[in-house]
Homo-oligomer: 330 residues x 2
């Protein structure tokens, strides 16, 4: 079977992930796994950080975007691709479209970090701005989509994207043996769904934990309620994790996730700073959430071998959450 935009999550097989690996190989990095003795001692676990912050375009989302773009038939590809995104998917789709030489239309909240907007334009993406609510974003997108006829690549609720994200944990399984658990951030659920697709087939004994900001805990509440609960425009520093689950990602979350754990804004910022200090890596607030939930729930992870997906490193260096700037001090 070939992944098309009309299939659903339930149709996805591990072979779709394998085909995605072939399709994206020349356009993405096989990212390294790093470890930290300090963080191992601090948590009592053995942590293996899969570093998608070193990925092309600075985030794992390039995997799903590239799989979608390079899977298009030529006649459809010619009209370009379009999406709405809080940031990294916009970057990634612009990057992938640029590699294929087709246009990429992006609807993006005007509140997104300037660094991300500049990077999207740097990859050739064409931005239309919207309000930061999901409702307004979808309305503005409908206009852009109708006008251009471009192929819609949803940031996460698209089987092609999920199959692409699934390649990340396939690499992790090659790099680290016998993982007891994998922790990944959850926003819309694209990375978690890809992780579930790969692990449920290739490492079914590995627990899968989703990590979410307490201030945008719709996935945790959905998980407990047994149905999708969506919030409009939650406020959290983890700006990649504000969006709600959709039916394709809910399929994986409801069937394969072990638990959804949450962390406060302060815990997220502390985990982010700790990672910069001790691992010498620039990571986004969104990908500090897994370390934050590990530090908050040590009993769950102690003495275990734990994969931690570091999803991206796109940060506005002039606005770091632990530095009171001259600007805000006035």
């Amino acid at each position: 079977m070939t992944v098309t935009e009309h299939m659903t999550a339930a149709d996805l097989t591990v072979d779709d992930m394998r085909r995605a690996r072939e399709r994206i190989r020349d356009h993405t990095h096989y990212t390294p796994v790093l470890t930290s003795s300090f963080l191992n001692e601090m948590t009592g676990a053995e942590l293996f950080f899969k570093c998608e912050n070193f990925q092309k375009a600075g985030a794992f989302k390039v995997r799903g975007a590239t799989n979608a773009v390079f899977g298009l038939h030529d006649d459809i590809a010619a009209r370009g691709v379009a999406t709405h995104s809080s940031g990294n998917h916009a970057l990634s789709l612009s990057y992938a479209a640029g590699r294929r030489g087709i246009p990429c239309h992006v609807v993006m909240p005007h509140t997104a970090p300037e660094a991300k907007k500049a990077a999207v334009r740097g990859y050739g993406g064409l931005i239309t701005e919207c309000e930061p609510s999901t409702t307004n974003r979808e309305a503005v997108f409908a206009e852009v989509h109708a006008k251009t006829g471009a192929d819609f690549v949803h940031p996460y609720n698209d089987p092609r994207v999920i199959a692409g994200q699934a390649t990340c944990s396939a690499e992790l399984l090659e790099q680290v043996e016998e993982l007891d658990a994998v922790v990944a951030p959850i926003g819309g659920g694209g990375m978690i769904s890809g992780t579930c697709l790969t692990l449920s087939n290739l490492a079914p004994d590995t627990d899968i934990y989703a990590a979410e900001p307490l201030q945008a805990d719709d996935a945790a509440r959905s998980f407990r309620a047994g149905k999708i609960i969506a919030d409009d425009a939650p406020i959290t520093i983890a700006d990649g994790l504000k969006v709600p689950l959709k039916e394709n990602t809910w399929h994986f979350v409801s069937n394969f996730v072990t638990d959804v754990q949450t962390a406060s804004e302060q815990e997220i910022i502390a985990a982010m700073k700790l990672t910069w200090q001790r691992m010498k890596m620039v990571i986004e607030p969104s990908c500090a959430v897994p370390l934050a939930v590990i530090l908050r729930n040590p009993e769950v992870y102690r003495s275990k071998r734990v994969g931690v997906i570091i999803t991206g490193g796109n940060v506005d260096m002039d606005r770091l959450p632990w530095v009171e700037t001259g600007e805000s001090a006035h």
Copy 2:
């Protein structure tokens, strides 16, 4: 021949480097090489970053320190080791001494970043503070040395340390084929000397460039004058590069270095920020100097395959050079 503290740089052979590799293998990381399409396009060169910021204790200096500590006979080791250092050698020697279970005495300028002092203590190092001038540092050290009887491991003017640093480019040669040039920062010259030891033997056609802050350009002036010129307490943000050359490192600099290139403070800060932004890596100001000189001298590096030694990532996250803090704004 075994490396002892009484031999000189001229006695060092590539076999001393090979023995150092065996000695330090269990205590150090084989660090990754990362690349950036963005920086390749920006410079017109093909850059290969050897990431010693991911090294144990956060810097390459752990290689030389570990080689020195684990090469000691048991009876000498029992009295411990001692050094003076602007930071990373102090961390590294404390780390290595801790691994061997012997004391480590460190004389350190009171102006060193708090993060470095805390990390030295974290590894069990015993700090005595001094003034930031080379003269005062050496005087205070003489007292500590006399009192403890510890073995002096100089941060760079020690053949054991140079043989240890030489292991870094030995790995780089295994990781990247056919390098036209390697660029490394120069302060006292330990890393550059190790680089010269390895490359002059194993890749004699590779050019070796030393990168230095313009505001602490004693190595550049020494290189032009054909003799060591030392400054006392130069002022630069690249705090690892303030110390002068000594006879053992001068041997390598004068015989094997292709050129010493300099960069301004602004160029160093811009290269540092660019590396954080585009490569998602935390690097110290000192190791932004190589990228700064590459950007300043594009004609030297264009179309070449260039190894760049990223020497360390120990940074005070609360004092970033491009962020005006609330503190300084008042």
